[in-house]
């Protein structure tokens, strides 16, 4: 039976592929690669965009001071050949490469880099405000102390400054181009130091990049330091998942990371398609509780969720085996993950959950929902309406029902969901997010200052704040690791989160292309594109 469906599927996809071929009837130019994605970005300005769709293009258009290795924890040189950090962790001196130029031939200087970073943190005029300027730390001053020396001074140490400077937000921009294009920088043009240069953009259709011919300063994590093997890269938006699968199978496009999990199994059997998986990817899907709301403020209820849901089976079902079930709050491959901290997370055991709820005073009502002091064990869940959340919502709803908890699932379109998730009208939420380390993840979510968003859990604990500050400003990695360990133990024991899945990053390529390796910084699979080559 299964093989019939699969054959029918492949037949259907091939037919769709043929339709696409017939519609476009145009072979790809010899040295061009087409990359598919689901959505476009609103603009390609690193200081104004936080979208993955912007980041994946900006990493090709420009470079950062430092780069991230494929292990997602080792910092390698980038535009800075080397750097010195002062004893107190307050001053960084970056020694920049010489001979670097922007796409239009203008030489890259420390002055330009200082401008780009200052623009990111809102210290240039006209002022732009980046939603993620906090990633730059508590900056005192960023200045050029010579043509190729950049000084970065902080008011407080920032133990993860370097990983944050590897993110696309901190890309080098040509100040003249920024001034010339004004608001239209990253809309009508771009001038960066990256391996590819901006050619044209048709929003929601395609963005075309051409090779930067003089590029020689690729980060050491790439096999090819430049120039790129490929002459042209076309980023094409194809919103429909099935069309992307069909285009990949019919060689209409070469690369994509945007293939729904359910399709992966059948694509594995297609000999012309290669799947590269990044094992060190840090993108988790979690369920969070508002710990100050009635019912959700009871730890017995929160623990009961963990015990009622068979997470490994659920993750296998929802992600079709393309994600790893989570236990603790941090991915085991992340820097400063604390294994013993995961002991505090209750294991799947519905009978034990029922006993625990009984003991906590939650008596089973006649309708199968528990009641305590006149309060029904009913929780409302808010999440973005997508396929994963629909399925997770129904499975978890059914699972907690087994132990006497009622979960009301409300999914919202992405356009309104963020507003709804910023409200106080719900008890439980699903979200997924990228991070670079335990410190990054925990500082993002759990500080009392971060309420109401992104600390949607309303977690407010002075001890947590102290540990977060300690980890954030630690200059000694051991101190930071200890603070992170304490935090993981505390948060796992509180059950304020049920971490669900560690997502996989897969990069799909056709036989026409080689050198496609999934990277995964901020979810970006194709980093720089220097190693891509047409066979």
């Amino acid at each position: 039976m299964k093989s019939f469906w699969q054959r029918a599927t492949l037949g259907g996809l091939a037919a769709m592929g043929l339709a696409l071929v017939a519609g476009q009837a145009q072979a790809q130019p010899r040295n061009q690669i087409t990359i598919m994605r689901e959505i476009d970005a609103d603009r390609y300005d690193p200081a104004r965009s936080t979208a993955l769709a912007a980041g994946e293009v900006i990493t090709m258009l420009s470079d950062t001071l430092v780069s991230m290795d494929y292990d997602m924890r080792t910092i390698r040189p980038g535009l800075a050949e080397r750097w010195d950090v002062s004893e107190d962790g307050l001053s960084y001196t970056f020694h920049l490469r010489q001979g670097v130029t922007f796409c239009d031939g203008t030489p890259f200087t420390a002055e330009a880099m200082a401008f780009s970073l200052n623009r990111w943190i809102g210290r240039t005029t006209p002022r732009v405000t980046s939603p993620v300027a906090w990633r730059a730390g508590d900056v005192k001053e960023i200045r050029a102390s010579g043509p190729h020396t950049l000084v970065y001074e902080l008011n407080r140490p920032h133990s993860e400054l370097l990983p944050n400077l590897a993110q696309f937000f901190a890309s080098a921009l040509d100040p003249a181009a920024v001034e010339r294009l004004g608001d239209n920088f990253g809309v009508q043009g771009f001038n960066g130091t990256g391996p590819f240069c901006w050619e044209s953009w048709t929003p929601r259709n395609q963005l075309v990049l051409t090779r930067h011919p003089n590029y020689r300063w690729g980060p050491p994590v790439m096999q090819n330091q430049g120039p790129a093997h490929v002459e042209r890269i076309v980023w094409r938006v194809i919103p429909e998942a099935a069309s992307r699968v069909a285009a990949l199978q019919s060689n209409q496009a070469d690369l994509t990371q945007y293939i729904p999990d359910a399709f992966i199994e059948s694509l594995r059997r297609v000999p012309t398609i290669t799947i590269n998986t990044q094992p060190n990817y840090l993108w988790d899907t979690y369920l969070g509780f508002k710990v100050d709301r009635p019912v959700a403020n009871d730890i017995a209820i929160r623990r009961a969720f963990h015990m009622a849901v068979d997470r490994p089976a659920m993750v296998r079902a929802v992600w079709s085996g393309n994600a790893r079930p989570a236990r603790g709050i941090i991915n085991p491959t992340a820097l400063d993950y604390y294994e013993a901290g995961d002991q505090g997370v209750p294991a799947f055991d519905q009978a034990a959950a029922r006993r625990m709820l009984d003991e906590a005073g939650w008596r089973m009502g006649s309708d199968g929902v528990r009641v305590k002091d006149g309060q029904r064990a009913t929780l409302t869940l808010f999440a973005i309406n997508n396929l994963v959340n629909q399925r997770l919502g129904e499975i978890i709803q059914q699972a907690v029902r087994q132990v006497g908890i009622e979960l009301r699932v409300q999914l919202f379109d992405a356009t309104v969901a963020w507003g709804r998730l910023a409200s106080q009208d719900f008890d439980v939420l699903f979200l997924s997010y990228p991070y670079i380390s335990a410190n990054d993840a925990l500082n993002l979510y759990w500080h009392s200052r971060s309420r109401p968003t992104p600390n949607r859990m309303n977690w407010n604990d002075p001890q947590t704040d102290a540990w977060l500050e300690e980890g954030r400003s630690a200059t000694d990695p051991a101190v930071r690791a200890r603070a992170m360990a304490d935090l993981q133990r505390q948060l796992n024991e509180s059950s304020a989160w049920m971490n669900i899945a560690h997502n996989n990053l897969n990069l799909f390529s056709t036989r026409r292309v080689e050198g496609a390796r999934a990277h995964g910084l901020y979810g970006i699979a194709i980093y720089k594109g220097l190693d891509l080559r047409v066979r």
Binding site: F263, A317, Q390, R391, Q398
Partner: protein, 291 residues
């Protein structure tokens, strides 16, 4: 004398018209559709006893399984039994259709009778109905979902509103025919009041066309309701509803087509059965309409 005797004894008795049911059963399509409709209704009523599995129970070890001896229609993306969900979905789908038909039909019929009986307000009422007719039901559904939030209530209201003008027109036209008949004049002459006249004499004589229209309309309403649920405006998860089930499966159309195809076939069979039954009923109740 002998002539009259002869007349009385040899004149053939006026042929008795066979009952509507008999007429219906004479037609092959009518028989099949009647059996199907009865079967559908019985399945919906007996769903809790017939369903082999809990329609909401998720079997995470058997997600998106194709039809098998354990799961007759396979399982959906959450590992739930599609057959059981369809049985329960039938209740929601039929209930939604029937309720909106009754609400819309009753309001429409009242409007239709008033328009036919009180000629002064006929123009006004019918123009109002024309206005309603100009809005597609899907548009009503979207608007109501925006006001009340998506859910079965919004769908039922939308479908009811969409049914009102159609029913009003049908009732008005058949009532106008009846209004011209002598017994209406006679009832008026003996001083019967309007309410009594409409319900005693006008309404019963329009019933056959109302009945035929309702049966045909039920199929359309079910299709529309399923379409609204497919768009995400109707039944909300985890409620089983055929349109919503088809919508959930469309994401897996390439890898597990049964999730979407089987509920869609279900909708197809239901709508077809009601449409055929409506056609056959029309033939049986009103042979003049037969072409």
């Amino acid at each position: 004398m002998s002539d009259t005797t002869l007349d009385a004894t040899t004149a053939p008795a006026a042929p008795r018209r066979p009952s509507a049911l008999r007429m219906l059963l004479r037609d092959f399509g009518g028989t099949v559709s009647l059996v199907l409709v009865i079967l559908i209704v019985v399945l919906a009523i007996l769903a809790p006893w017939l369903a082999p599995h809990d329609p909401f129970a998720t079997d995470l070890m058997a997600v998106m399984e194709p039809p098998s001896s354990r799961y007759w229609f396979g399982t959906d993306g959450q590992g739930r039994d599609i057959f059981s969900r369809m049985l329960f979905g039938l209740r929601v789908t039929l209930g939604m259709g029937l309720l909106s038909l009754v609400v819309g039909g009753v309001i429409g019929a009242v409007v239709g009778f008033c328009a036919a009986y009180y000629r002064r307000i006929d123009g006004l009422l019918m123009r109002l109905m024309d206005m309603l007719l100009s809005f597609p039901a899907i548009l009503f559904g979207l608007a109501l979902a925006a006001i009340f939030g998506p859910g079965l209530t919004a769908v039922i209201i939308a479908l009811s509103i969409a049914t009102i003008p159609l029913m009003a027109r049908i009732v008005r036209s058949s009532a106008l025919v009846v209004m011209g008949l002598d017994y209406i004049e006679a009832a008026r002459a003996i001083g019967m009041n309007d309410f009594r006249l409409i319900f005693r004499h006008l309404a019963p004589n329009c019933l056959s066309s109302v009945f035929v229209f309702s049966t045909l309309r039920l199929g359309q309403v079910i299709l529309l309701g399923s379409a609204l649920s497919f768009l995400g405006l109707g039944a909300q998860p985890p409620t089983a509803e055929l349109g919503a089930m088809a919508a959930q499966g469309r994401n897996f159309l390439f890898i597990a087509p049964h999730i979407s195809v089987i509920p869609s076939l279900g909708i197809f069979v239901i709508v077809l059965a009601f449409n055929l039954l409506g056609d056959a009923l029309r033939d049986a109740l009103d042979p003049r309409l037969r072409i």
